[in-house]
Amino acid sequence: MKTLFYVIQKEFIQVRRNKTMLRMIIMIPLLQMLVLVFAATYDLKNVNIFLVDKDMSSTSRELASKIDASPFFTINNTSFNPDEGEKAILDNKDHMVLVIPQGFERNLIRDDKASLQLLVNAIDGQAAQLGYSYAASVIRDFNKNIIAEWKGLPEFNTPYQINSVSRFWYNSELEYKWYMAPGVLCILVTLIGLFLSGMSLVKEKEQGTIEQLNVTPIRKIHFLAGKLIPFVVIALFDLSFGLVVAKVVFNLPIVGSLWLVFGFGMLYLLGILGLGLFVSTLADTQQQVMFVTYFFMMIFILMGGVFTPVDSMPHWAQVVDEGNPIYHFIRVMRMVVLKGSNFGDLIHEFIAMSIIGITFLSLAVLRYRKTA
């Protein structure tokens, strides 16, 4: 027990004496929370529209001003030539070109129907679809209004109408930051834990100090525990720090129990640090550790559902995700923090995480040899 204490003390001294490391431990969470969370948003605003109004009627002008007045769209440029519009898209100046053909108003009145053309830069497919659906709904509303106006009705409704009333639970304003913040916290904790633990072991290898430790009476389990515990503490500190930042800056509601968050966080860290140690027992240089951990982190993060929903992935990927620690951690974070899920709702995640953690830790313990 006393040996373990000294090993842990040694690790803490090493961290404390490393000025850059200390700065990283504070700066990374701050930067990540402030930059990542603000940057990662699919909310659509500031869509620039190029308007080609060949009709120049009062209806077409009214439509243009309706679109310009909506919070998502800005009419950036106008011209009579649709080719100019396509050029503006090529040049990345505008996202959409709206063409109102000649005779738009006349057709609308005489034939009861008229067409508009909308050209969308679809390289970013999702943004294109969202932009189109917003534009279509602005046009639909405009359509309803002019029918009512022309028929002299207060409001125009089709004879049969089923209104879809949407209610958004847990996040009624659809605040995307509340979704991203717990996800970013997971990345943060993983980044700190995985890299620090892996690098610290392999650094001893690279500099040869591991030989000195190997000839001491420190037992293998003590040595590994010494490499594990300090980084669990640091990562948990960063988790709480990140939660405070999220609470203060984004007003993140924390509905569920913090005990549950930290309990699962600890379980998660033991597993993820086990993985870090396992990788570093296999590697000889810091560069290798970095690349291997980067490789795994990338796959875990992308498949774990931080940025994109796991439900949209193919079935086999969802099965594979059962073995992905980040997937479980993110689920738990979001469920507890945003929805207030309790332990009963999370039994599956706790069991899965324990299995993953025990596997990684045993691999690390089995693989580590005190012999050179």
């Binding site: 948003t41 508009l116 679809a122 089923i162 810091q286 690349f291 490789f295 940025f307 949209s312």
Partner: protein, 369 residues
């Protein structure tokens, strides 16, 4: 010159004798591309929803079957009146509950209108918004096709939409340029900075500095192998993108490779700059991850559109080299434009490379402290 070739040989040997790193370098782009192309998907399909139907009449049954046959939704659970919706959401089993009130069809026939409730679990706001808008779209469509068949509506505006450059709205069109920027940044900048700071950390830098090699030769020798590796990777990514995912190269291939070369040069000089600042590998790595990887993923328009970000981040994004490179690649590959449309971005990349090199020369110390 002979000394330089000897040094270059040493650097190549360093890399080739480390098969683990080599493997990762060549595997990483392939795995990442396949992941993005096959797994990462922002399209909604087979989302689990629950139905709470208190009427069980023809209309509600028809709407339910329309929702289920759309491909977007599958029935996760059928709720009974009095069931706790909160409980279903808390377990995380379904993403949306569609709730029909009592006497749904009768109300519709009598009053001409009726409400259907779409309760969405907005702890994932993006999915919630898409699910509700798809569901209401399907319901509107149902009304139009089944209930309003024979009724002529006045003054209808019809919007024809044309999706340019990516008619199938494939997300891989976004990812190929993004991953290319990311991998090139990783290999060029991160690897170079770590490899130089490693010599510092292990004390072998001292040996190199005391050798007859000039500082510029040391730096060039460090950089050349990674230049080659990056170039091979750029080619691999383009080949996979074109032949497996069908991303077109509408513009000139040679121009594309020339721009990639420029970007690699810029990234390498950034790597040198980082290594002149960082005292050891760990710091070099953290600076690389913080200053290069995250901004490359987040502030370059790779995953999230820059226009949607708050103003300070939009301003910062101008200083991110990948942002300009991604614009260039998209223009050449997807839009098929030439230098006329990307000269500004190209000049910016050149300028950045120049600044990084100038700063590195200023920072490079030939004496030890």
């Amino acid at each position: 010159m002979k000394q330089f070739i000897g040094f270059l040989r040493k650097e190549f040997l360093h890399i080739f004798r480390d098969p683990r790193t080599m493997m990762i370098i060549f595997l990483l782009p392939i795995v990442q591309l396949l992941l993005f192309g096959k797994v990462i998907n922002t399209d909604i399909q087979n989302s689990k929803i629950a139905i709470l139907d208190q009427s069980h009449d023809n209309t509600t049954r028809e709407i339910t079957s329309k929702l289920m046959s759309s491909g977007y939704f599958v029935l996760g659970e059928e709720l009974m009146p009095g069931d706790d919706v909160e409980d279903v959401f808390r377990k995380g089993k379904v993403k949306m509950v569609v709730s029909f009130g009592t006497n749904f069809e009768q109300t519709l026939e009598r009053d001409g209108k009726v409400d259907v409730q779409l309760l969405a679990d907005a702890s994932d706001p993006n999915t919630a918004r898409i699910l509700t808008s798809y569901a209401s779209g399907i319901i509107n469509d149902y009304v139009k096709k089944e209930k309003l068949q024979n009724i002529q509506l006045p003054n209808q505006i019809n919007t024809e939409v044309r999706m340019l450059y990516n008619e199938g709205l494939k997300s891989v069109y976004m990812f190929v340029p993004g991953i290319m920027a990311m991998i090139l940044m990783l290999i060029s900048a991160m690897m170079t900075s770590i490899s130089i700071s490693k010599e510092k950390e292990l004390g072998t830098m001292e040996v190199l500095l005391a050798s007859p090699l000039k500082p510029i030769q040391i730096v060039l020798g460090k950089v050349t192998p990674y230049l080659l590796l990056s170039f091979i990777n750029a080619l691999t990514i383009i080949i996979i993108g074109v032949f497996i995912f069908g991303v077109p190269i509408k513009g000139s291939f040679i121009f594309l490779m020339a721009e990639s070369f420029l970007f690699i040069l810029m990234a390498l000089s950034l790597g040198i700059l980082i290594s002149t600042i960082a005292p050891n590998q760990m710091v070099a790595m953290f600076i690389s991850v913080l200053a290069l990887m995250l901004p490359t993923i987040l502030l370059s328009g790779f995953m999230f559109p820059i226009e949607n970000m708050p103003l300070p981040l939009r301003i910062i994004s101008h200083a991110m080299p990948p942002r300009w490179f991604i614009v260039i690649i998209k223009n050449i590959m997807l839009k098929g434009t030439g230098i006329m449309y990307v000269w500004k971005e190209t000049l910016i990349l050149m300028f950045m490379a120049f600044v990084f090199i100038a700063l590195s020369i200023k920072n490079f110390k030939i004496r030890l402290e």
